[in-house]
Symmetry: D2
Subunit: 444 residues, 4 copies
């Protein structure tokens, strides 16, 4: 710690920015600062905003070095608590073990616009964290606090529609991460009466959606994305025909809230809301991409396909499927991909054999390669399965866009949210097992 401060002091320029900010932060934590903390916090945030990228990085380093707990003190209090588990000993210990950074952030939050600034701060911090792991504990404090503040109990579920402010819609267009929104007309189609969009907001950030989900209300579970995105919406919509709510896109808007799982709550709260608006809805499912599939399949080793206790015939079938694909489309499967120079997405492999092989391998990938933290695991699959969803159906040729072909050879998947089984499914998943419908299991 002292070194960091000393280094800061040596450099005249620093005195003018990072040093002054660090000083303001220390003051804010004093008793004296307490009496005027709103003004001091405002001034500190002002200073922070003016830092350049490098200054911010150095400030984070000060936070790491200068605002962590005193090891000796914590150890002493931990010993006391181990000797006598009294309330007093516990209170002292808990207070000492919490990094002072957290109190600093709570005080910075008192400024006008404090919360927005802290979310931005974390966004910058995460950019740096990749290179500089010494900031890990600082980030843990940001995440801990933001997770408490952005508790789902504090969030407001808002329906986004064509009467929403243009500024909000503009952000929706900007942040859509799954199926790009190509301008206002495209957006409008996604807000028509057979579509829904819901977002979470925090009360002190009324202009900033945190996360949003797009839903199609249909009469049956869909197997392909293109019809859902088709701009020419139906001329007539009959709400009585809505049987299935399809969550076809979910996007985070705040990089500063990474790691805080709002999607899980959003999906369940939206499902509740739709159920009460349309009591005849029977099915809540997704139509999801499988962003990890193509990379895994391309590199997969035929020999190592399969899973423990799998029957030999099944294992053999999988190996044959992959071998066949490679024989037909090249060792790197590039024959399944759009050709360079061809503007439009390629037609799907209509060969029945291709479809069957891809379906079986995809089922295998999601069932046996996703309930792990391995790098090849599919992140979208992990998200929904961890939320307690069930792997319901594999769809060949579900996304024939260039992106869809590249990331999963056009495969898509439906995950099913059945409220009665999400707890059991989630628990299974925690133990490495994926809840999957028979139809999926029988593909392998």
């Amino acid at each position: 710690m002292l070194d960091v401060i000393r280094n800061l002091r040596r450099d005249g320029t620093d005195r003018d920015d990072v040093w002054k900010l660090a000083h303001a932060c220390r003051q804010l934590l004093t008793e004296r600062g307490e009496s005027n903390s709103r003004a001091l916090a405002g001034a500190a945030i002002e200073r922070w905003r003016k830092l350049d990228a490098d200054g911010m990085h150095r400030f984070f380093k000060v936070l790491a070095a200068d605002f962590d707990p005193d090891p000796g003190e914590v150890l002493r209090l931990a010993e006391n608590y181990a000797v006598s588990r009294s309330p007093d000993n516990l209170v002292k210990l808990a207070r000492a073990a919490e990094p002072p950074r957290q109190e600093l952030l709570r005080r910075l939050n008192r400024a006008d616009g404090g919360t927005a600034s802290i979310v931005q701060m974390r966004s910058r911090l995460l950019d740096r964290l990749r290179q500089d792991r010494s900031l890990k504990a600082v980030d843990a404090d940001f995440q801990h606090l933001l997770s408490s503040w952005f508790n789902p109990g504090f969030l407001k579920l808002v329906q986004v529609d064509w009467s929403s402010p243009a500024a909000l819609l503009e952000r929706i267009i900007h942040h859509e991460a799954v199926h790009e929104i190509d301008g206002w007309n495209d957006l409008r189609r996604r807000l028509e009466p057979d579509r829904r969009c819901f977002a979470f907001f925090h009360p002190v950030l009324p202009d900033e959606p945190l996360i949003f989900v797009e839903i199609a209300l249909l009469s049956a579970m869909p197997g392909a994305i293109a019809p859902l995105l088709d701009r020419s919406g139906p001329s007539n919509v009959d709400p009585a025909s809505f049987k299935v709510a399809v969550f076809y896109s979910i996007s985070n808007c705040q990089p500063g809230l990474r790691g805080i799982n709002l999607g899980n709550f959003l999906i369940k709260q939206v499902a509740e809301r739709l159920q009460s608006e349309f009591p005849k809805l029977r099915t809540f499912c997704t139509l999801s991409p499988i962003p990890g599939f193509a990379a895994w399949l391309t590199r997969a080793n035929v020999e190592s396909l399969g899973a423990p206790r799998m029957r030999t015939t099944n294992r053999r079938a999988l190996q044959d499927a992959l071998a066949g694909l490679r024989a037909r489309h090249g060792a790197d499967l590039s024959g399944l991909l759009p050709q360079p120079g061809s503007a439009a997405p390629l037609a799907p492999a209509d060969d029945e054999a291709d479809r069957a092989a891809l379906s079986a391998l995809c089922a295998h990938y999601l069932v046996h390669r996703t309930a792990t933290e391995a790098p090849e695991a599919d992140p979208v699959g992990r998200f929904h399965l961890n939320n307690g969803a069930r792997l319901q159906r594999i769809n060949a040729a579900g996304d024939l866009s260039r992106k869809g072909l590249k990331q999963s050879f056009g495969m898509m998947v439906n995950y099913l949210y059945d409220l009665d089984e999400i707890e059991a499914n989630h628990e299974k998943f925690m133990h490495g097992e994926v809840a999957a419908a028979r139809a999926v299991l029988s593909l392998m």
Copy 2:
């Protein structure tokens, strides 16, 4: 811990309420609970609401016994951190030292109405805490979390006026703690154009004021409360005549938020707002009661009056003042109080000597007996001085109501909020010194 659980289990009835609640709480903390936490939290809170007072107490005991950190684990991690101050070691330590109760409360908060329930829970907990100090660490966790969630940065400042919902005004009448509001007509006078009332709200408790302050806009700093409360407001109000904003009453509405200092922020934010509405306002002050004065004075020992380094003549003057009062009004000073059976408040002691003596002794009490945590210290004084206010003027015969005579022989005081000196004043106060105007000091 185990004993508590075992005892719970032995009793069949308990299984039906406290035991089941404790079980639900434990489930909520499991991974399995995570996937469906909103529903589980709702069910747990439902259970809690149905407990009787005794059941609630036993539940708090479970929280104390069953949801605290593991001492051995914390000690081990504190040793690791003492050996190597690495981010990883710190992250693990901080996680282990935080009592699991906090995560439990964060998950309970996910239910609809969770925050309101947690605030009520703490209110019940505080009732019990007086008798049962074993709950102290539980309360520390509630306070820690609520303090973070009710951070001033999250609160909304709302002006309360005659167009506010009747339900809100009813609560204002109910919670006014300083100068009772005697029905709707009395309230109305306090909302007329030369008065203001502001409250803090938390966004998820839109119907529940947390704390509110009442202000009179005047042309000069007032010395007595009665004219401010007089129901026949002025027929004509000229905003150009407003020079002084007097904070004459501040009341907390949420017993569950005890110990979370919102008053400090409220006063300063309101001052800012009034300043921007009335740029000609020059003075922000209070007209405050001195609830501790009469009790202290009645019991005061003539000999021990005074303070270190006080001049002998001053000390002698104080002693004479008290002796004189006792000579004129009885050893217990009961002659200064309203007579039993007399309906109306008594007339003030018009004797100039009484006024001078009370003023000097009151100045002494506030300057020398308040910057301590001694039981006789005046709580209202401590609040404002700790906020950085200055003791500006002592007013004899400022509150001749029965309550005012009883608690302070009619004395009142103005505290002055001067933004330029609140930090210094607060710091002084932290070191045991009271910032006081010359006029006050010269009284002694």
Copy 3:
């Protein structure tokens, strides 16, 4: 006309107020005024507000004399139109026959607060109209225009409840005309979950209810008012038990809108709204006073009781009933009234004979004396019957308050609103016939 103006001019003082206002009005109607009418209208209204009662009266006389159509011109255009019914002739005629006062009011309405001022103007005008019938045509113009502007299609139906602004509730207390509201607690009972209150608002008068109705939701049609007004509301309300919506009070708030029948629309729109909130509601009825009954009965001539084509036995029975009452309670029926000096309302005549006699005579009064514009006709009865309601039940001892005994010897009545028959009932009523239930007819 000229005389009025000339007289105005003679009087120097007038030049300073009424004359100037009249001049401003004339200017507002010129082409020149058109270009700046908002400012001119504002100035004229300002002038009007400053007039005293006499000045206002003289101003109304100017409106009567100076802003009416030119008889010669209208006659000429009426002749043209009679000769040739061409569009051009009609347009010119209609334009010339409309009194210029109407255009004047439309231009005054362009000022900020114009509508509110015009409503107030009419209220003052009505005060004067009683003595000065020369203002009748001026009033007809006000009524014509206000009736067009306060068209039900422009009004907003608002539910009044405990979260309404205190300022609005204060007006409700003030304007309640049927069953006085005795302060805020009394009001609160009328806003509890088994009660409703709805008001009509005009968009440009957001703080001014125009008319409101109070409703009790009950399981059966009530026969007495006291239980509905009892302040100790039910501890538990089960919306499933609501079968009957009782309109027990309807009050106008704007004297300036007299003669514009908003009550009819209010009742029907509220019934629609309640029906959609509580689909199990079966009956919409009133519990109404009969303000004209006692006066009529006291003065009734026994000989002339009855109606054309009534059977002799029925006629005889009515005559016997009245004679019996007079024998028992004095020729002036004063024995049925509260005794002077007795604080509480008297007990009802428990004599069965009295009840039967009063019921028969009351039925007769409402059925045979109300479908006329005779001075003795009951105004409340006329209002509901004209709206298409049916006379459903006569209730003896329904209102034993002093007011209830005085105006109707305690009798009350239920009018039933049955959407399927209101048109037919209304038409009957237009032809002098009252729609009444059998039970009512059989009383006679």
Copy 4:
């Protein structure tokens, strides 16, 4: 009338639509209809909506024939009134002379959505009116009533900005009539901090702007439109630099409100609002097109140029100017227009002589050819001059877009709104004289 009805009756199909609607309308006017008018009105409007264009036309003919005043009755009452100018006679006359259509419209307005339907009805009526002048009196009634209902005193001024609902912004894009808005990005530039957009709304049509105006806040009065529409807005806007508010576009949104001058009020109310937001604004002016100029100039007869009492030298100069232009650019001035096949607008005539000639002729056109109802008069000029604006500056090459060149050879004009002279200017204009700045007069 009878013929129309008889014809309707003959035709079986008509009985199913126009006839039934006419019948419903007649019922609505009966006493019977009064008791249930909201429902009846709703049903009638429903019927109307289902008519095809021809059915609507026939319905308008029924309104013309069947709902006008009785000539004999009106004549009789006009005679009475001419004999005795009593209030009673006047009331009866005014009632009889008002076409019953107006009461019909007032009753139709009671339906949900009634006002919107009536506005649409008039829009359809106007379409028909061009061919069928027999509907002129029907239209006069619509206009009379709508003008009363859309009185500026009832309208709400709303600022349109980037936080407005997308649905509203879409309508702004759609209705912009002066300088086309090319999609959302173009719109956005017009809502940036140095731009304003305001619209009038009627309270019962909350989603339908009636008219809107676009304003640029600048430091000086602009002479050309292109810089105002340039999409790359300024990076930094300093409100202190705003000296001039330029109304550069004003568009009506409701064809059904044609002939109801809302623009006049909108401009003045917006000017008031901007003045209070930016007290340093000094100048309120327009930058306006001159849509009638090119057509007039092309056809102008050199000999007849000039005005009464114009000096011969001036007249000669004008004639020379026009002759010169024709010599240089062809008798039809087509040399001043964009060439067919050239995509981009042509460059302006940079020849100084062209500019001077066009400026002089344009000044002449606006000063001497606009204060008339002649077909060649410029409608935009008439609008602003009639509002009381002054002709402030003529700008050559102000609009070099294809449209600008075509309609006015690129000329634009600034009209100045000076509150102190709008009444006088308007009055002058009523007498055929145009208020013009010296600089404009000196051009001729």
